[in-house]
C-alpha cells in the first residue's frame, strides 16, 4: 500500500515537473539565446558557453530605435489602461449595484465585444484614419485598443464590485453620505485591489497588441515595441537578427513576468473571475 502511495507521489512530482518544463522551456530558450554571442548563436547547448551582452547592446544601438519603441508602447498601453479603467469603474459599479432594464443584454453585449475579431474594426478604421490623417499617431492605436481593453475591464470590475456587500454603502448612506460619496469614499478605496488587478490585466492585453499597431503605423519612430522587434534588421537584408530579437523579446517580456510573479495570486483570481462564469 505504501509502495503505491510513494509511486503516486513520484508520478505527481513528475507531472508537476512536466508542466513547469512545458511552460518555461521556450521562455528559457529565449533567455539563453539572447545571452549568446553572434558567433555561437546557433549553439544548442543548454547553457551559453560564454555569457555575452552583445545582443543587448545591439538592441539599443540607435539604428534599431528600440528605446523609442518601448516608450511608444508605454504611452499607448498606459493611456489605454487609464482611460479604460476610468470608464469601466463607473460602468461596472452600475452593473453590479443598480437595477435597470436590459441590464443583462447590455452586459452580454459588452462582453461580446471583447471577443470581436479585431481585424473587423481595423479595416474600416484604417480607411477612416487614412482619410483624416491619423496614421502614425498614438490615438490611432489607442482608440481601437479600447475596443477590447474596455470590455475586459468592465467585466473584471463588475465581478469585483459584486463581491462587495451592499451593507457597505448602506452604512455609509445612513451616516449621511450620498450614493456618489459612498461610492467615492467607501467603495473605491475598498475596491482598490480589484481595480489594481484589472489594471494589470488590461495593461498586459494592451501591451501585447500587435495587429492594430502594425496596421496603423508605417513610420519607425511611432511603432510600438512588438512591431519594432518584428522589423529589426540584420547585417544584411536576408540575415534575420535572431540574437537581438531574442534579447528585445526578453526585455519586453521581463516586466510582465515580474508583474506576474509578484501579483500571481491576484491575477489568477482576476482571470478566473472574469472568465470562469
Amino acid at each position: 500500500m505504501t509502495a503505491t502511495v510513494k509511486w503516486r507521489t513520484w508520478l505527481l512530482y513528475l507531472g508537476v515537473a512536466a508542466v513547469v518544463a512545458y511552460c518555461l522551456a521556450p521562455f528559457y530558450w529565449m533567455l539563453v539565446s539572447s545571452l549568446r554571442s553572434t558567433s555561437d548563436i546557433f549553439d544548442t547547448s543548454l547553457l551559453p558557453t560564454s555569457v555575452s551582452f552583445e545582443n543587448y547592446r545591439a538592441v539599443f544601438s540607435p539604428s534599431q530605435g528600440f528605446g523609442r519603441a518601448l516608450l511608444n508602447s508605454l504611452i499607448v498601453s498606459g493611456t489605454t489602461t487609464v482611460l479604460a479603467l476610468l470608464l469601466a469603474t463607473f460602468t461596472a459599479y452600475a452593473m453590479a449595484r443598480l437595477q435597470f432594464r436590459f441590464k443583462r443584454l447590455i452586459l452580454t453585449l459588452i462582453i461580446a465585444t471583447s471577443m470581436f475579431p479585431v481585424v473587423s474594426i481595423v479595416v474600416p478604421l484604417l480607411k477612416l484614419f487614412t482619410d483624416i490623417g491619423w496614421i502614425n499617431t498614438y490615438q490611432a492605436m489607442i482608440v481601437p485598443s479600447m475596443s477590447f481593453v474596455l470590455p475586459l475591464a468592465v467585466w473584471n470590475l463588475t465581478t469585483f464590485f459584486k463581491q462587495m456587500p451592499d451593507e457597505l454603502e448602506e452604512a455609509a448612506m445612513i451616516d449621511g453620505c450620498t450614493r456618489g460619496q459612498a461610492f467615492r469614499k467607501v467603495i473605491i478605496p475598498l475596491a482598490a485591489p480589484g481595480i489594481f488587478t484589472t489594471a494589470i490585466i488590461a495593461f498586459i492585453a494592451a501591451w501585447n497588441e500587435f495587429l492594430i499597431a502594425l496596421s496603423m503605423t508605417n513610420r519607425p519612430s511611432i511603432q510600438t515595441a512588438p512591431v519594432a522587434i518584428s522589423k529589426f534588421t540584420g547585417a544584411t537584408q536576408f540575415d534575420i537578427p535572431f540574437g537581438s530579437q531574442m534579447a528585445a523579446g526578453v526585455l519586453v517580456t521581463v516586466p510582465l513576468v515580474i508583474m506576474v510573479l509578484i501579483f500571481q495570486r491576484r491575477i489568477v483570481a482576476g482571470l478566473t473571475a472574469g472568465a470562469a462564469k
Partner: protein, 307 residues
Amino acid sequence: MSPTLLVLTVVVLYPTVMAFTESLYGAKGLDPKTGFISDTEPFVGLQNYADIFGQAGDRFWNAFWNTTFFTVVTVGLETLIGLAMALIMHKAFSGRALVRASILIPWAVPTAISGLLWRWIFNSDGIANALLGQQVLWTTEGFHAKVAVIIAEVWKTAPFIGLLVLAGLQVIPKEVYEAARIDGAGPLAQFWRITLPLVKPALLVAVLFRCLDALRMFDLPYLLIGAQKNSVETLSMLAQNEASNVRFGPAAAYAVLLFIYVFLIALGFVRLLGTDLVGDVGGPRKTKRNNKLRPASPAAGSAEASA
C-alpha cells in the same frame, strides 16, 4: 455607464457598420468615362462577395479552411493539455506557487514575441531540428508550417485553459469524492462520472473563449511564417493584407465574413451552454438570495465559487 456604451459604440459599432458599407465598394481605379484615376471608390454592390464565391474565391476559401483547421486542432489539443495540467495542479500540494507562476508565463509573453521566439526555435539550424535530429524547413510553405503554428499556439494558450479548469475543479466539494469512494468508484470512474461533468461548465466557457480567440488568429502565423503564405494564411491575415494594400472594399468583405463566422460560432456555443454566459448579474444581494433557493445554474455556481 453610458460613457462606456458611447465609447464602445464609437470604437466597435460604428466601425462594424462602416465595414458593412465599405464592403459594398470596389477599389479605386480608372474611371471608364473620363480615363482619369478616380478619387472615389466605385459602388459595386455585392460584387466583392460575389467575387469571394466566384473567381477570387480560392484565396478566401483557403484562408477560411486554415482558420477553421487551426481553431479545431489547437482548441482540441489545448483542452486536453489544459485539462491534464489542471488535474496535476489540483492534486499537487507542494510547489503550487511555482506551478502557478510558471503557468502564467506563456500567457504573459506577447503573442508577437512568442511568434518570433518560435521562429527561432523552428529555424532550420534551430533547437527543434537539433532535438529531432531532422532537417525540416518549418517556416517554409507546407504542412509543417501549420504544425509549427499549432505547436506555438498550443504552448501559449493551454496553460490558460488549465487555469480556468483549475478554478472549476476547486469548486467541487470533497464530500462528493468521498461518497463515490464509499460506493466503490475507482479513480477512473470518479474522473468520468464526477470530475468531468462538474467541470464541464467551466471547461465549455474556456473552450468558447479559446475558439473565438483562435478564429481571429493573426500575430502568430504572421510572424512565425509570414504574410501571404498559403499554408497558414488566416482570415484575419487576409483582410489585413488587403487593407494594407489599399483594397479596402474586398478587405472589408473578408472582415465582415469573419465577423459573421465568429458570431455564428458564439451563438452556437451560447445555445449549447444554456443562457447563463454572463452569470447572475442581478445587482442587489436580495435577488441573489432568492436565486439560491432555486436550483442555480452550474455556470453561475462556478462564478460565485471562483470569487
